[in-house]
Amino acid sequence: MQNEINEDIIELFIASAKEAVATVERIPANANSLNNALVAATENDAVLLAQPDDLDPELFSIFKLNKNIVTEPTKEQISTIKTGITDAFCAIASTGSICVSITKNLTSHASMLTRKHIVIVDSKTIIPKPRDIFSEKYLEGKGLRRSFSIITGPSSTADMGPLVRGVHGPGKLHIVIVG
């Protein structure tokens, strides 16, 4: 399953993520493609870019020169910035989820304080089911050795009656699969 591309599982992941009301795109694993995807997805707004926890930083080498990027936000900026970009250390095919680490970087903040979360995940890290995160057999057991959030679609509530997306967390989730 690991370190090789399994098209079936990627396809299942894309379908499940869409069902969970995320938007998904898949691009080649290079800095240029990622830059194009992120420029389009951020729509020229200011963005909080969290330093990647697991993805190769080289992938961000072009995009990180973008003038809209904030990497060391002030308190004012972090309280108001609307878009956050993070990586995910894995994704789950059956549920369309992505897993975001809670680390020294601003990954978790960028994915919870903003209105739109753009997340980048390596196609080789898509696992079949939620239970597989907690297995040594997958991801070299990475899921067993960190704090993280499994994110499935945008933040939502039905507490006010009808289903509403975007409550305390982002109302939009955009997933970029690389590779």
Partner: protein
């Protein structure tokens, strides 16, 4: 429906169900102003759950595994607490084991004081309701902001939770809109779900940015790794546990499992069983104190993250010593039992619950965490319909918990009430009444008798008293066999069949029993009638456990004898069949005998369908013509028949014979044996019955000739109270087809 915001009684006033009077008032409140919202929301959860669990390919194995882990954890709880404490303290967190509510709130109060906190943000925690945390902290002068939107609503309305996953499930958008308009001075629009959400979000975002301390609950805690699982949809748990530098997690000790390697099983089961999603928006796996930058957006200068885990005993260790209540400790609070409960769908947790705990599982928790038996009186609302049983991800026998509470309440009251004796001994009453049935029927339905029955027994006078048949099944069978001798047309492999003369079929519905006899005769399968013995169903549903056991054992040894002779037992009354295939396991405490009886008892249509599927019976002569004016059928599956896996066989069977069959998705008709006859529960029962009849009437091409099929005596009674359509047991309808 009246307006909840103007209703004469506030839900808090009737939260404590220790007295019967309060339970009655709470039911009225719920039916008057909460029922519509509760039904809509619980039924949505329920439908989604069925869809979600279907997608888990190893759902049954996963439930077995979850059950095993919980059993092991509760068994080894003292060791797990030590291990967990050790793990978290090694990582720099603090663990406090609180014996009582006061120990817990004192500790939390002191943590808040030590940080000179002003504002505390809180994520949803039913356990914090249990220990009464908010009022303690507020008295100390701290501001508490509930950040889950449902809890935010309840903080404004000052109501207790009505459901453990969606605590404001009793409120419609309209009632929330009005509540907010009355309580907030704002120019912002407060009409749509989006507007209400945005309004609350903006208020709470300011609270998050300035909070000093965050308090959360926990769904599970892994002892080995000190990992906390927190499941949510809104994102408030993430902010609560990660923005302030100080995080306090409150958890009952039963939330501890050995290792996070098993989190996956629970994560998948919890989301599917609760809201019916593959996963909720956020599943948080935290190993605090977290290694995450402190932003100090609140203006503080906190330099280090601090984590406190407050483990709550508050009666749990005693529940663990109680053979019955121990089961309740396996609960993972998914709410599937409430969402699949017809009574809960009608009234919600403000009637079917106390200040903290709700639904079928709530009774044992109310008693266990307060130590007061009377607190569990709302367990009376569990009719034993059993629909929660197959839907519980940790296989808790919730009806049995509630039977235990009812039984203990009876003992505490010094013996059963006349009502319980009356309904629990229906067989004896039937025996006497059947000596002169027409006189008995006349007497029991005389207005003076009805008044006496209502006053003394509590028999609702708007219900018909079940009529005693002019001739019992036993008598009719004897006369019938004088003319129609037992003979076999099929090959000698066909086993001999015995129809059980259960109490209900014998005294009240001999026509159903005779229809079964005639069908099997007609199809050339020899069938005889059993002896008449009370199976214990009526006694069990009244909480008269000893009586039910005594009766059950007697019948069981008789049935086991028949089966040893090579007989198969046909049971027309589904509640009695469910007893043989489920309840007898615990009632008899004899696995061999139970297995034998469970494997050789069948619903009549189920038995025939099995023969057809196995090509041992050919009914092709009876297939309805496409162009004939064949009747339309609406089928309502009996609750307990569904639980034992035979609930939809009749609809499959008649579809095989080319009939168009519409099926209800009402979990239980609401009559539930004697429940709907009782004066104090008549209104709930009727409310559920209306839901069922609404479905029947609104089904495609329904008209006055639509034939309604229901195998339960009480289901037919419930439907017959509202509709004049022909209503039959499926075997009666088959007999008409075969004629």
């Amino acid at each position: 429906m009246e307006n909840i915001n103007d209703y004469k009684i506030h839900p808090r006033e009737v939260a404590d169900k220790s007295s019967k009077g309060t339970l009655k008032k709470a039911i009225k409140l719920a039916l008057d102003v909460e029922s519509d919202a509760v039904r809509l929301n619980t039924q949505t959860f329920n439908t989604n759950r069925y869809k979600a669990v279907k997608k888990i390919d190893d759902y049954e194995e996963l439930k077995d595994r979850a059950r095993q882990i919980k059993e092991y954890s509760i068994q080894n709880l003292p060791q797990l607490i030590i291990k967990l404490t050790d793990t978290i303290e090694h990582r720099g967190g603090k663990v406090f084991l609180a014996k009582s509510k006061k120990d817990a709130t004192d500790y939390i109060k002191n943590v808040c004081l030590s940080h000179t906190a002003r504002l505390v943000v809180k994520a949803k925690s039913i356990t914090s309701e249990e220990i009464g945390l908010n009022s303690v902290l507020e008295k100390q002068g701290f501001e508490i902001a509930e950040t889950d939107l449902a809890e935010f609503i309840l903080q404004v309305s000052k109501e207790q939770p009505s459901h453990n996953v969606a605590p404001a499930i009793h409120r419609s958008r309209e009632s929330i809109s009005e509540l907010f308009k009355r309580n907030f001075n704002t120019d912002k629009p407060l009409e749509t779900g989006e507007e209400l959400t945005e309004f609350a979000r903006d208020i709470l975002r300011q609270k998050f940015l300035s909070a000093d301390i965050g308090i959360s609950g926990a769904n599970l805690i892994a002892a080995e790794e000190g990992t906390i699982l927190l499941v949510e949809s809104e994102g408030n748990i993430r902010l609560t546990t990660q923005l302030p530098a100080v995080h306090i997690a409150i958890a009952g000790i039963e939330k501890i499992i050995p290792s996070k390697k098993d989190f996956g099983i629970f994560i998948e089961l919890l989301a599917a069983s609760g809201t019916g999603q593959p996963l909720t928006s956020y599943t948080n796996i935290l190993e605090p104190p977290l290694d995450l930058p402190i932003l100090n957006l609140n203006g503080r200068k906190d330099e280090q993250r601090e984590f406190h885990l407050v483990l709550i005993d508050n009666g749990r260790m005693q529940m663990r010593e109680d053979d019955s209540f121990k089961e309740a400790l396996y609960c993972i609070r998914c709410s599937a039992c409430m969402n699949s409960c017809a009574n809960f769908q009608a009234v919600g947790g403000h009637a079917f619950g106390d200040e903290v705990y709700t639904g079928g599982i709530g009774g044992a928790w109310a008693v266990g965490t307060t130590g007061i038996l009377e607190k569990g009186r709302f367990a009376e609302l569990c009719t034993g319909c059993s629909r929660c049983i197959p839907n519980c991800p940790v296989r808790i026998d919730i009806p049995k918990l509630n039977t235990t509470i009812k039984n203990r309440l009876i003992k505490a009251a010094g013996g059963p009430s006349l009502q319980k004796i009356f309904f629990g001994n229906f067989s004896i009453i039937g025996k006497f009444a059947s000596v002169m049935p027409s006189l008995s029927n006349r007497i029991s339905n005389l207005s003076v008798s009805r008044t006496i029955l209502e006053k003394i027994i509590g028999f609702e006078k708007l219900r018909h008293i079940p009529l005693f048949a002019h001739k019992t099944l036993a008598k009719q069978y004897k006369e019938y066999r004088k003319v129609n001798k037992v003979k076999s047309k099929l090959n000698e492999l066909t086993p001999k069949l015995v129809l059980l003369a259960d109490v209900f079929t014998n005294y009240n519905n001999p026509n159903v029993g005779m229809a079964a006899i005639k069908v099997f005769d007609k199809l050339g399968m020899p069938i005889t009638l059993s002896k008449l013995l009370d199976e214990g169903r009526a006694a069990q549903s009244q909480g008269l456990v000893q009586l039910a056991t005594k009766r059950g054992k007697k019948l069981a040894s008789y049935l086991a004898g028949l089966i040893d002779e090579g007989k198969e037992i046909i049971v027309a009354e589904p509640s009695v069949l469910a007893l043989f295939r489920y309840d007898y396991k615990k009632l008899l405490n004899n696995d061999n005998q139970f297995d034998k009886i469970a494997r050789h008892t069948y619903d009549p249509i189920e038995y025939l369908n099995m023969l057809v599927v196995n090509h041992k019976l050919d009914l092709s002569n009876y297939i309805a013509n496409v162009d004939s004016s064949k009747p339309k059928i609406f089928y309502h599956g009996h609750c307990q028949l569904k639980t034992i896996g035979a609930g939809y066989v009749a609809s499959e069977f008649f579809q095989r014979l080319n009939y168009t069959v519409k099926v209800s998705n009402v979990e239980c008709c609401g009559m539930a044996g004697s429940f709907g006859y009782k004066k104090e529960y008549y209104a709930i029962s009727k409310n559920i019955g209306d839901d069922l009849t609404r479905q029947i009437i609104r089904s495609d091409s329904f008209d006055n000739n639509t034939i309604i099929l229901a195998s339960g005596t009480s289901c037919r009674e419930q439907i017959g109270d509202e509709l004049n359509n022909p209503i039959f047991h499926p075997i009666e309808f088959l007999e008409k087809i075969l004629k």
